[in-house]
Amino acid sequence: MKRFLRENSLSIFFLTIFLIALGLQSLAGWQDFNNSQLRHDGESIGYGRYLLSSEFGVAMLENWQSEYLQFALYTTATVWFLQRGSPESKELDQAGGESDEEQKVGRHADEDSPLWARAGGLRTRAFSNSLLIVMGAIWLLSWLGQAITGRVAYNEERLEHHQSGLDFVQYLGSADFWERTLQNWQSEFLAVGSMAILAVYLRQRGSPESKPVGEAHDHTGVTG
């Protein structure tokens, strides 16, 4: 058990702080929603109802979609795009999908390679892109969820001001949908872009996200 915890501590740690943060967000969001209701003599709602409301749904999913987009994009962009000196980049002559030998697929697979890496054909092609496929699918589902819940939350606000509600297609073209979307995208793009650059010149001893402390600034694709 102790060994299991140690060997999986990275995912356990992040899953735990995710649940804590989500719980706290839901409590703060519930309080904020009810404060807003009080300001215009509306009804306060219970915690359970808030958890199932579109208000909570959109607040959560608009962030989820941007995070999964960020990782899906980063996973894909780093196949071709390079950054001299960055541990986030491949070596400068390695851009592209690389050879089957380098990627250990088909007849170049090791004995302990995953089955679909050895299988060839469609299965190997699918497995070769499975990280992007799954992260991209989660991104699209989260974004769809943001659109569905965002429309409800926005329409509540519009009806409160005696305006008509928007249908789904109208909402997809609304400033509210794109403002929610882009405010999250820009922060993710800034974070990964700055990480790629900062990791050229700065170090975190012991982290695989960093180069070794003594590694030269212009050495690319080295992780510590």
Binding site: L10, S11, F14, L15, Q37, D41, G42, E43, S44, I45, L52, S53, S54, E55, F56, G57, M60, L61, W64, F71, L131, V134, M135, A137, I138, L141, S142, L144, G145, I148, T149, R151, V152, A153, N155, E156, E157, L159, E160, H161, H162, Q163, S164, G165
Partner: protein
């Protein structure tokens, strides 16, 4: 970085489905409040009609018409009696009446659903509020 991708797909899909269905609320009360207002207006029952308004709307009506609400409400131009449709989002709803009016209704604490605007008609600009006979 993607520790539990398959699990996360399931969670995201489930949440999208669950939360997507959470827009509509129990809005029988919203349609009921609008219907009671229009029925009372048709019956010239000012007291019952006024009981459907939120406090702010009732006060605004009395201020605008300079009459007590039960009198002032009967001077409004409300059209229709039957509910033909409604949109409900969390604690707000818009109810359509067969005469072409829209009614805006809000869920309040102890008093249930109350009318915040009635006798409303859309204006050409979609971003502008409806033009209402009475509103808070």
């Amino acid at each position: 970085m993607a520790a539990f991708p398959y699990r996360a797909v399931l969670v995201a899909a489930t949440l999208a489905l669950v939360l997507g269905g959470c827009g509509a609320t129990d809005s029988d009360g919203a349609a009921g409040a609008a219907e009671r207002l229009y029925a009372a207006y048709a019956d010239q029952d000012g007291e019952t009609a006024c009981a459907q308004f939120s406090d702010d709307t009732r006060e605004q009506l009395e201020k605008d018409e300079r009459k007590p609400c039960p009198e002032a409400v009967l001077a409004l131009d409300l059209s229709g009696t039957r509910v033909t449709g409604e949109q409900a989002y969390v604690t707000e709803a818009k109810v359509e009446i067969d005469g072409g009016d829209s009614v805006f209704v809000e869920e309040t604490g102890e008093h249930g659903w109350l009318v915040t605007a009635a006798g409303c008609r859309p204006v050409p600009d979609q971003e502008a509020p409806y033009d209402c006979e009475v509103e808070s």
